[in-house]
Symmetry: D2
Subunit: 448 residues, 4 copies
């Protein structure tokens, strides 16, 4: 059956809604969307938090990838509806279903605390997403196949950016796509960070399809500009927050320790659902049984491990007592950083497990990199202009990495009330360490 | 040390804040509050969702008891600040710390999906809360003891309503207390349910202490009235939602099955952290290791149990495929309900495990019950008037239970598209069952 | 041309929007709507404030009837769009234009501070609205006539409730219509009164046409109930606020004085734009030149009138120094009220000009009065149930007038710091007056 | 009496509040503030709209300078409270009253549609503000003098930036002061422009006094940066909107015409309250009788003037039919602009009255101009860093004027549907005019 024909017979007699605090309602008008939401693979996203360790800094940010995925779907639906109404010559209506499905499913392959966990298992969530869509054993695949045998492939090709229609691809992944638009709004809502707000409804009015993809009417320039700034602000103030990264470092070190123990010594209590990943031998089915709960429960169990390191790191994570950090200048203060790591390592701590460098960096916008489609504004006569040419603010952020480099160590070394406490065996080391900390940064005390 | 003196030396040089999407900021001005938040027992509340199974109906409502507890603290702090400023003759400032601590800790004893789980283990969260505060082994107890040896007792007595100062008790638990004010606002925010909103800042202006407790200035009557209506609306529309209760019933049945298996046959895979509870022999320490993750992970493991019932119920819960329900009139249609249960039980289903009656009921406001302190309004000259006397709306809700009675069954029996599906072995039973369902309620088809 | 055909050729190639703080955007898809907005009669509504004297109590509430009219249009448009999509059998699509136009124009005849001014000139805004629509001299009439010669009549008949289609009439005026839904939301937004919020988007989902008008799906009952309560709250807390009514009384007395002077003595400075109304001989054209500015400027000029009473009352209004008030029990304390009026009148004040009784009353909901269409809920099978039968809260408000009776007097008599001031010639009268004021109400001090 | 002592005895027993939709409540704790608000000069601000002609583009933006002034007071109060609590060594508490009064009164001298009207009368609102404060005939002066005979002078000196305490001056006027913080939030709220939102509560946490004025803690850098961007966005999208400027140009031309007629020919209907200004001979008392209503009523009367130009321009303004505009490149296309003006002038239009150039420009931030205090961030050790050094975004906006140059003409020349209308005598001129309009800008069609 053609996607077109399927779309018509698949329509629900009455639209169904999900109440959403960000978009008010998520509107579903096709049975296939409902059925995708009801699959066990999609329901699993309820058990994966959207922001990973940021919930430990912004306590309101406890929302899941499930909510976010519905939001991306809803924004995409609104855009597609508008395209069908206003741009019948530029937009192909037979793209409707594949676009909506890709929007809904684009995060399907995320696992618990993705960024950290993926490093441990050496894979990534985009690969998992397409695997889940294409595997014949998933409910997702079964539902998608109802449209046509090739439909799962089509949906996957949007996510891998190989789909032949550039409009569809750019709606789902580009520098201003439905994914980013939802997560900025949603993360701002749940953290309480007002600077993440931008004028979504204005952007949804000026976005438009054209031959080579997606552009924005020129008069909407400031709304797009403001979106770039909001995104930048969210990275600087929320996503890169030092405390969240302290939890990430703690999690990274404890998973590293657990895996080493498993592989080298087999010392720690086995945990059925994680075993395949420590063995580096897992299937999609194994992966789909993972969620935040599984990881947290394993860590819960490890707090009583016989291995003192694993037990301590697990306790730090479970009870939110992360490493603390201090920033330094890359390419200048590395030697001091090494000196500080040694101070820590010389005490009871294992240097590799208890000190860590963490760098954050984001490219708020770029128009030169091959891998990034530039954002284009369109004049009344169809001429295009690249965003940073029209906006000095965006130009100031373009092509520059933003973020910082931080050294993470046990918190004792960075608490300022050390001296008020009873005399400590670490006092000397603490003082030596603190010599290099000036205005909350690592600095060479002899320079400047 | 006197609480008063401790309070002064315990003040932070600079207040610390937590960003909160509901109250903007949570303001902390005492070290003891920070230290309580940092205990492992309080951090555990991050892993307990506030609304239990309601998250499966309102996908935004994924917030934890941790957020809520901070919110209750913040509302209480605002009230206490105002009392100190405006009512120096009626409010005893030495009550500050005990009130704030009780506000922060009042939910400490909640476990995973409290209402359902507590039924299985035969205890309740209020008991756990005081146990945690009073046990000498907890970090909470240690921090509280810093104020004075008796301070943990004082805090606990607020929660058990035995504290001698009725103002303190009523701030934390009464028909309009800081707990309810926070959860209504918070749950409304996260579900997106606008009807839960009421004028918190107005209520915080008209609340006042008097000799026998807490009252509200008469001119604030309509704000209090609106709070009662908002609370009623949240119960009717959110807390009693049939779909959430369907998940609750599913969870109840699966835990019941798991415990039976454990006790009678020892058939299912052991799960260290739950074992003490199935044995009915647990300590506070055992309890403090529980959280939503532990329960969800156990259910995750049970989806592959050898016991077909446990496996099916676990799968229903994990993948959000709950029982469906239909309302009936109590004291009138019980015999039909039994007939319908038999129809289900006569098929492959176990009647006790796969059909269930669930009743919800709430008393929005009462002024006659001994156990409930009435809400009082105070005139300029100090005279009191009970709320429902002043408000016909509140009178209409007073003393009446609201809620309904529903029969839960496997969803096949209540889906309306049964006939469109391929011919089913259940068709006849389905038709028989449906005969009694009129306008989405159980009705006797022969009566009108 | 048929309305249907006109509607098609009248569509704009691209919808136009107006940014609105309440509804985000007002969406216009027909040229006729744009042209109506651009008429001078509709633009005049920018110069008429929506809430009259309430702006003097709630300083944010400075919005105009122009904003409100756009809002009523937008809500109606959303409903009509939904009816066309979901109820093709119940809703006649040829009603679209007449419904939208009536929604937009329903308040066209409002003048400055309507309620007060209308009493002085002895007419009412509904009459003016239809006159403006039907008069061949207005731009409004000209634009409407483009659809068909009879179209102005059709639009007017919706506003007078004589249109033959009950659905159209009830959308624009009934106990839950687009007019009320907009003003509650809007007034709540601009005053800052949170209790005015209700779940508009939910109501817009459950509203539905049926043979005899408009009903609401049964499952939306609580949303409708909450709307009734919000409306009640806005009346009690905003619309009936004693201070706003104090400004209303002041305005009423000064207009009364000005008109008397004009008619009897011709003493005050003429003011061209008002003269026709003091002569009781005005045309529609005269009326359309009035706005808040004209009235305020007249009052501004009258502050320097030779007539001491007019000058004093005008100064009180212009500088916001209204009469103050005290409530009393009707049918019980009238004799005391008269006594109090005499105390005031015996001093330098004219009793008729400087004391006034003001009664407010609203019927939040009624189902018995012929003039009011009851609100109906509809079950799945089409059966109807009247709202107050389903909701005890609504029942408690039904059929009862709410509001109060207040005596307004010069503020000196009701300020409590009288005694702290220098000895006053009024001290004795003040004391006599105050004897009857107990707990901010008029009471007989010898009773009870 | 010392300001200090006065402050203590002036405190209200109970704080009074004004409900505000932006700040929730405005909190007043001193009688003097209440009394200032109650003066007739301050009440006049209710009749002066905050945004002048922007209300004609953003219909929600009908708020007054009264609301804004209360908002500036409230933000200042919050800052002063925080300074007193947290910076006892850096902030002088005897500055409290003078700071609050200056905040409240800083806009007192604004007249109707200030920017345009001031050009006509050749004065400015800052001069009027200090005149009103210092004049012995105003109620404002009388209330302020209660503190001490010199107090009015002190308040005025804050507004003229001559007060000796730089902290007080910078709180009220600098590149990030209470005035701007309120108007950005407020204008964003009432227009519905989300991009105007910034994190006010965060800024209120990081602002701090130091020896030479006001600085911001370094960790609040991004919040300050975001404020600069929000301000820029509001200028680009709201304050500089071409349609609002079209109304401004219309108003400017009509006032210019009216004054010329008055002075040269005495032709138009006298209007008592405006006469002194057309004579260029007015007192403070004359000025204080002006408000938006007076101007609008004059224009209302002038729509029937015998002078055809005055009547047409007045009608355009009253009925919101402003000039339309097109942008051009300054220093490049002036000759084309002149040519276009001639095309208009050669028709029935007077060139000086019916064509007009309007340039907008704003300096979002500057750190070099003597007249502007740079924004400083402060490190933990007290070192300062200028904002644009720390933020590349701010650097990109620093020292550059933003805005544009537009030619305003009768709308016939810029409407695109000219050709669809009946054959017009202007067709040829219209075509000639349109030749130079490319992509909505004036361009030389022969170049590029």
């Amino acid at each position: 059956m053609s996607a077109d024909r399927f779309e018509r017979i698949d329509r629900l007699p009455f639209e169904k809604v999900f109440k959403d605090p960000v978009h008010d309602y998520i509107h579903v008008r096709h049975r296939i969307i409902l059925d995708l939401i009801d699959t066990k693979e999609f329901q699993r996203l309820r058990r994966i938090k959207q922001l990973g360790t940021a919930q430990f800094t912004f306590h309101g940010a406890e929302h899941s990838r499930f909510s976010h995925s519905l939001g991306v779907y809803e924004i995409t639906r609104k855009i597609v509806d508008m395209f069908e109404r206003n741009y019948p010559d530029e937009w192909d209506p037979s793209m409707r279903l594949v676009t909506l499905c890709a929007a809904l499913l684009h995060d399907l392959g995320h696992g618990p605390f993705s960024h950290t966990f993926e490093k441990i298992i050496g894979s990534d969530h985009e690969k998992f997403t397409t695997d889940i869509i294409l595997s014949e054993e998933t409910e997702i695949h079964e539902v998608l196949s109802r449209v046509s045998p090739d439909f799962p492939n089509q949906v996957a090709s949007v996510i891998t950016k190989e789909h032949k229609n550039p409009q569809v691809v750019q709606l789902i992944s580009s520098q201003i796509d439905a994914d980013r638009m939802d997560y900025l709004q949603r993360d701002a809502f749940f953290t309480g960070a007002t600077y993440g707000a931008f004028d979504l409804s204005r952007i949804l009015r000026v976005i438009r399809p054209y031959k080579h993809g997606i552009a924005f009417q020129y008069q909407g320039m400031h709304a797009v500009e403001d979106y770039i700034v909001s995104r930048f602000q969210m990275y600087m103030q929320v996503y890169f927050h030092p405390a969240s990264r302290g939890m990430e470092v703690t999690l990274d070190r404890l998973l590293y320790r657990a895996k080493s123990l498993y592989q080298e010594e087999n010392l720690y209590p086995h945990f059925t659902l994680l075993d395949p990943f420590f063995k580096d031998k897992y299937t999609i089915e194994d992966y789909l049984r993972l969620d935040d709960s599984v990881l947290q429960t394993a860590i819960n169990l490890w707090t009583t491990s016989d291995d003192a390191y694993l037990s301590e790191l697990s306790t730090m994570f479970l009870n939110r007592r992360p490493f603390k950090s201090v920033a330094y200048e890359k390419g200048q203060d590395e030697s001091i950083v090494e000196k500080l790591r040694d101070i820590v390592g010389n005490l009871k701590y294992d240097k590799e497990l208890f000190t860590r460098i963490n760098s954050s960096s984001d490219l708020p916008y770029d128009y030169k990199l091959k891998s990034k489609t530039p954002i284009h504004l369109m004049y009344a006569d169809g001429t295009l202009i690249e965003l940073s040419e029209a906006s000095p603010i965006v130009k100031s952020l373009s092509g520059n990495l933003h973020g910082d480099h931080r050294l993470y160590v046990p918190k004792e070394f960075l608490e300022d009330n050390q001296k008020n406490k009873e005399v400590s065996m670490f006092q000397e080391d603490y003082d030596e360490f603190q010599k290099y900390i000036i205005n909350d940064r690592i600095k060479n005390p002899n320079k400047n």
